[in-house]
Symmetry: C2
Subunit: 218 residues, 2 copies
């Protein structure tokens, strides 16, 4: 009975890792659509989002069933409650990829990100994607060190966000209001993906160690 | 024993309603700071946020204790899990009020919102605040009709968001990039407060009726 329970608990974390892999793909494709102005890829991101929503529902149903039938306590209970929160955050990261894809689609056949600010936006996208990759590892291996290392990546993201603002608010910004608004929102979306990544990782650390990392409430 | 349990369950919803009242105040004060450029009020919003974070922790601890000690099933279990999600969303609405207050503070002694677009932003703020007020009622009275009526308000918010964009992206926008970026982000923050309000209300409907309203996954 208990063994079956722990198999079900592990299954939830495998499902979370699988959803995280989907999110990773969505972030990567959304960035590709954004940087190349590829409408088909943008559409793909937008239409794939429902798969993540459905996967989230399955995890929620499984977690609820475990809570109902197995009446877990202590660490097992903490793990399931963490799983419920993690799946919400992963879904939200998927939604944010869709927001990126929608800005890409809105500007087709143009590219929403002007050439000279592409390095900053490209780096934001890379950092966000790398953070999702690391979260996947954290979920798969419950790797506390990998989880804690996400904080450095998040600091780079904060710096990039400031650079993003200073670029578009400079006196010599030549691309007008629309491009600036796009970039500010895109910066916000990547920053939020990073925030959620840190939060998911912190929740895993809490499950494994029983202690909340300092930045758990991001 | 069961009666004591239901008192504790009700206590969680009273706590949620109390947090919602704090969020309501934060949204109102953040808007006041924004529309008047009042640095002291902005600071107050920013420094008060920690109280909402702490209240969230208390609700989480109580919910966790109830799950652990009482081993609820079926509707009781659903209610506690919903409570955990609702408190995360309320905390997030508080964070979004802080984001509004920070933009207000950044532009002091100026006002971030230029006079001719104040009607749209003021209305966004009013709709958001009214939605939070209604969520408070929904939490206090588990009022399903009030919950469902939030969807209309959310539609108005979507329209306002489109107007917000068309104002700042018009060819005759005279206020430059910085003001446009502020307005786009402010519009996003109020829109997200509204999204969370709808989501909280839908969760209450789910607890009361056992059915997910169509828009539950906002």
């Amino acid at each position: 009975m208990r063994e079956a329970f722990h198999e079900q608990l592990d299954a939830i974390f495998l499902d979370l890792a699988a959803i995280c892999a989907q999110v990773e793909s969505q972030v990567r494709l959304a960035t590709q659509a954004l940087m190349t102005g590829d409408a088909a890829v943008a559409e793909q991101v937008i239409s794939t989002d429902i798969e993540i929503d459905q996967a989230r529902e399955r995890v929620e149903d499984n977690a609820f069933e475990l809570l109902s039938l197995q009446q877990p306590v202590a660490r097992d209970l903490r793990t399931i409650v963490a799983g419920l929160r993690i799946v919400s955050e992963l879904e939200r990261m998927g939604d944010l990829s869709v927001h990126v894809a929608k800005i890409a689609r809105l500007r087709v056949p143009d590219v929403a990100v002007p050439a000279e600010v592409q390095p900053t936006m490209q780096r934001m996208a890379e950092v966000a994607e790398a953070m999702v990759v690391r979260v996947h590892k954290v979920l798969n291996e419950r790797d506390v060190d990998a989880a804690l290392s996400l904080r450095e990546a998040d600091e780079e993201m904060d710096q990039l966000r400031r650079r993003n603002f200073s670029e578009l608010l400079g006196d010599d910004w030549p691309h007008g209001v629309e491009a600036a608004v796009d970039l500010a929102l895109l910066g916000r979306y990547y920053e939020r993906i990073a925030d959620h990544a840190v939060s998911v990782a912190n929740r895993v650390v809490f499950v494994v160690t029983g202690e909340n990392p300092a930045a758990a409430d991001v």
